[in-house]
């Protein structure tokens, strides 16, 4: 199975722990990349190396997959920086479902995210034979909530008090997309 693929404007590939530490830190050190997720800020690239190693272990256990997204077009600097990290977690092979999570560079537009997600969803629904993909995010993350809608994910509700973060109990807004949903 080929886990790496290209769209018109992006290369979507599995990470390489030894090589992607700095570029992933470059993406994630900006708090806006994951402003819709309850997540502590990263301060050093060692933290992203740790995340990459954990991602490798979870991928080997068939629990999750992580893709790094690079631009195929634009200036050299634009192509050198990561545009996004897309993570597929909580894969439930029995229910044929999984949870997607994105972390985005500020430059990524809704149109570009649709292009990236269309490729990821195609892979999940066809190659992995999943039936349902879910997004969970902070209900008041307006930009990302709007992106979820623009990418065809339907709002399904808000799950209360899912975890504690920085002294506050955090709700999760849930969005779903089915393999059978119209494109």
């Amino acid at each position: 199975m080929n886990w790496n693929y290209e769209t018109t404007n992006f290369l979507i590939r599995l990470p390489i722990s030894a090589d992607d530490e700095e570029s992933l830190f470059g993406l994630l050190k900006n708090p806006s990349a994951s402003a819709h997720l309850p997540k502590s800020q990263l301060y050093t690239s060692v933290q992203t190396l740790d995340e990459l190693r954990r991602a490798t272990m979870r991928f080997q256990a068939r629990e999750a997959a992580t893709w790094l997204v690079e631009r195929l077009t634009g200036s050299l600097e634009e192509r050198a920086a990561l545009a996004a990290r897309i993570t597929l977690t909580d894969i439930n092979w029995m229910q044929a479902s999984g949870r997607l999570q994105w972390e985005l560079d500020e430059s990524v537009t809704a149109t570009e995210l649709r292009e990236i997600l269309a490729a990821v969803e195609q892979f999940c629904f066809s190659d992995l034979a999943l039936h349902r993909l879910e997004l969970r995010m902070l209900p008041d993350a307006d930009k990302h909530v709007a992106l979820a809608g623009e990418c065809g994910f339907q709002p399904e509700g808000v799950l209360p008090a899912q975890l504690e973060f920085e002294g506050q109990w955090v709700d999760h807004a849930v969005f779903g997309k089915l393999a059978s949903d119209p494109a």
């Binding site: 029995m94 229910q95 044929a96 479902s97 039936h131 349902r132 879910e134 339907q154 399904e156 509700g157 808000v158 799950l159 209360p160 008090a161 899912q162 975890l163 504690e164 849930v174 779903g176 089915l178 059978s180």
Partner: protein, 197 residues
């Protein structure tokens, strides 16, 4: 070490599962209430579940109780099972389900559920209790949940598989307690302000 206590309520009790409950549980699982679940074929299939129930409680992954009707004076009859699963101690949350014979009406189930919630809130400081109602299940369960203080949170489309290419929606309900001083009080649903500790 016994992790699953006996909890009494009006008209019955819940207690730890024992190996000798196998045949009575087998009768319960001949009438599965969850869409897509098939009747068990052999009582031996439950041996592992009873064993697992003890392990789950010991490692704080879940807890299973036998649900019984009756009284200490007249004796008890096993009519179902209360299960707490997907227990996440760090996030103080757990999900419940009840599998029971029709003789265990919704009033009994609500009382049993409340007894288990009170115990887990008191003993383990859990504060977020979830329930997943599967499309096609008894609608009266929703009324039971409302009476127990649960509120609707989300409808997860086609999140429950019942066949090779068939799924049902899942409605997720929550009861969230807030911790104030030494009392645990409900902040959602009909039991607002009720002390459970």
């Amino acid at each position: 070490m016994k992790f699953t206590p006996t909890l009494e309520f009006e008209g019955g009790r819940v207690r730890t599962l024992e190996a000798s409950d196998r045949d009575a549980l087998f009768a319960v699982y001949q009438q599965p209430e969850v869409p897509g679940q098939r009747p068990l074929e052999k009582p031996e299939q439950l041996d592992r579940m009873i064993e697992l129930g003890v392990q789950m409680a010991a490692t704080q992954r879940g807890m299973m109780w036998a649900l019984e009707l009756g009284s200490a004076a007249e004796g008890y009859q096993l009519v179902g099972q209360v299960s707490a699963f997907d227990w996440q101690p760090s996030w103080l949350k757990v999900t419940f389900r009840i599998d029971a014979l029709p003789v265990a009406d919704m009033n009994v189930r609500a009382l049993a559920l409340q007894a288990c919630i009170d115990f887990m809130a008191d003993k383990y400081h859990l504060r977020n209790f979830a329930w997943q109602w599967i499309e096609g299940q008894n609608e009266a369960i929703k009324e039971m949940l409302a009476a127990a203080g649960f509120t609707f949170a989300a409808r997860l489309r086609q999140a429950w598989r019942i066949g090779e290419n068939e799924w049902r929606d899942v409605e997720q309900y929550h009861k969230v307690l807030s911790v104030a001083d030494n009392a645990v009080t409900s902040v959602a649903g009909n039991n607002e302000g009720e002390s459970v500790q």
